[in-house]
């Protein structure tokens, strides 16, 4: 069994606490630009999307790494960088389709989410439920329920409208 981070942008309030605690956990400082997660905002349009590593099953970062420095941690399921092997070429940063692979200019290392070794601080601190840390087997159910919720809301509105006209 392994767990993954599930993002629900609709629940995100854009507070960036996840960035803050991530940077403290990994770099011991507050610096959102050195965090492994980023809350991307289109502020004036009211749109928000937290971006973090998806721990892809067939991960471009690992596939593209010329020295095979990115491998899955069997305990947490996280793709992790082995810095003994990493040559710092940043190919992984370039190929990640989500922009979730980063480069820390202070340590001069590529950085990515390692699920904090199994206790991801972003999910722990996010009280709105915008970032959940759940077992992979739960993912479908969570999304089904969310999809059904919005469909049911719509159907209820339609029924009410129909009843109103009758």
């Amino acid at each position: 069994m392994s767990k993954i981070l599930v993002i629900d942008p609709e629940k995100c309030t854009g507070c960036r606490l996840c960035e803050q605690v991530c940077s403290v956990k990994h770099e011991r400082v507050v610096n959102p630009y050195r965090a492994r997660i980023k809350v991307v905002k289109w502020e004036m349009e009211g749109k928000i999307l937290p971006v973090v590593c998806q721990q892809c099953e067939d991960a471009p970062c690992a596939a593209a790494c010329p020295v095979h420095a990115i491998a899955r941690n069997p305990e947490t399921g996280a793709l992790e960088v082995n810095y003994d092997l990493c040559i710092g070429c940043r190919t992984c940063v370039n190929v990640c389709p989500f922009g979730a692979m980063g480069f820390d200019w202070v340590t001069e290392r590529v950085i990515k989410c390692d699920l904090c070794g199994g206790d991801p601080q972003c999910a722990r601190f996010c009280e709105t439920g915008a970032i959940l840390y759940v077992d992979k087997s739960e993912l479908s159910s969570i999304k089904q329920r969310k999809g059904a919720d919005s469909l049911m809301e719509l159907m209820t509105k339609v029924s009410a409208a129909v009843a109103g006209t009758g």
């Binding site: 609709e10 629940k11 309030t13 854009g14 507070c15 960036r16 606490l17 803050q20 605690v21 403290v24 956990k25 770099e27 011991r28 400082v29 507050v30 610096n31 959102p32 630009y33 050195r34 905002k41 502020e43 004036m44 349009e45 009211g46 200019w105 202070v106 601080q121 722990r124 601190f125 009280e127 709105t128």
Partner: protein
Amino acid sequence: MALSKKIAYIDLTNRRVRTAPIPLEMRNLYLGGRGLDMYLLYNHVKPGADPLGPDNVALVSAGLLTGTLASASARVHVAGKSPLTGFVGSANMGGFFGPEMRMAGFDHLVITGKADGPVYLWLHDGEIEIRDASHLWGHDAQQTQVMVRKELGDDDIQVMTIGVAGENLVRFACVMTSLKNAAGRTGMGALWGSKNLKAIAARGRMDIKIAFPEEALEYNKEIITQVTSAKVSKTMQKLGTLFIWGTTNSTGLVRTRNFQSNQIPYADDIEPESIEEEMIGTAGCFGCQVHCRGRYFIKKGPYTGAYVEGPEYTSLGAFGAEVGCTTKQTVLVGNHLVNMYGLDTLETGSMISWAMELFEKGIITTKDTDGLELRFGNDEAVIEAVHQIAQRRGIGDILAEGPLKAAEKIGGDAIKYLIHVKGMSNLHSDERPTPALALNIATASRGADHLRSRPAIDLYHLPEKVLRKIFGNPVPYDGPLTSDYRDYEGKPWEVIWQEMCYGTVDCLGICKYHTVFLGPNMPNFTEWPKLIYLNTGLEFTSRDLWDIADRAYTLERLFNLREGLTREMDWLPDRYFDEKTDRGLPVVRGKSIDREKFKKMIEEYYKLHEWDEKGRPTKKKLKALGLENEPSHKL
């Protein structure tokens, strides 16, 4: 450390920038934020300086804990001599600018002189550029932020800006960041406008170091749990500050039609739950789990499609109760307009409602308003008046001068109908049934002000034992304390305790909703020493923090006295004593403030502060706080 950030002196006249470290001694005396700003205000503004002249100083500061692992530490403080009152100008706001400014390398900005044309400041990675802002002048607060980000090519940039109201020197113009965060009160936007300072942009990649990262992370979690487990926070997460309305209006603590009643009936459309129907969610400031800012799109009228944040409780008064309007569309649009123009929503609503009462009484007529029917409940007139104030057109040009100057221009009995203290208008709250809250607005250093010292929990009928626990720490107090909010006894101490409580969070850069304001179980002097230690490594006792807040508050008093404050100004408008409340629950109906009892309250308040009978801090008090040699020009 978080303490490595610098102070920058920016001379706009000569376009020179100088930076310096902030000595630890000054941290120990004032922490940062409002505390250090008050030191800078007292030291850098010459006595009698014209608030809109080049001798005034525009101050911007981060709190000691801004951006650290102290929950809700998003605040940035803005200060100067107030163009509205001529006394202390001071306001703070959340959002994301404060933390970003620190990551750009700066904790305090001291902006002097006047630029020869519009400029904005660009703070990034330890450097400050003074840039041309001619192309930004005339743009609203939202558009300015978009333009700055585009020009500098970075969407992560945070911008503080004035809108058109600040450019037009509306004396209650504010400074804005993001969609709705406003350093709202005392006219700091006009001060910026007078300096040709349109905006400050910041982007930083510099660390905010945390003294004990693991422990600070865990303690942050504890504090967040303490805050968000409180019912008041859960309610605010859903409704924002609008929730307060549910209690205050039904009780009868809301000033209506300027000051003619204390409750607005048949106002279902502006109930929080009704406005919630418009909400698509809520937004949080940096690192905050209370996320009290509403988010909505305007669905009708000329602003259809606009994305807006808010409205706050205050705007319910400004565009609802005070002006006698009961449609949420007016509240939502009014909120949008003040955010765009950069106007203090509270002062705007108060000025309009005052003008409406003058119109009703015939003191002004359509001849004075160019035909504008300033009748209570006239939604269109309210919205039009907002435009006129910001653009200084018609009657708006007079109202833009703020209460006292506008009353002088209109003349006659106009001044009698002002609901102000020291030249600043009151919130849409009616304090006649609540002497503690009345004392708060009468004595606050900014003027009629609910955020300097309001003991809001006085309204909760808490058992005396609980009151003693809260108000007896860190300075022991064995005088009277009563659970009845209609009492006069014991309230002066509550006001002073709140002054120190709010003063401390303002120095730290923490939001007031994370302390004893609306919730009695919130963090206060008990939690702060540990919070400061884990984040910065600095050691303070609870009592040290009280003294620091007292030092800042006393400096505000000294500043005001120097600028002409007298004890007569620590007082309420006559209507508080002469007119009785006519609505609400039986316990608040038929209430007015008793002059004699209120005078005794003021005397008691001075005594507890160790101020003399004229409201001047005694030599002994100044010595105890180390203020006997101010101004000392250490920074």
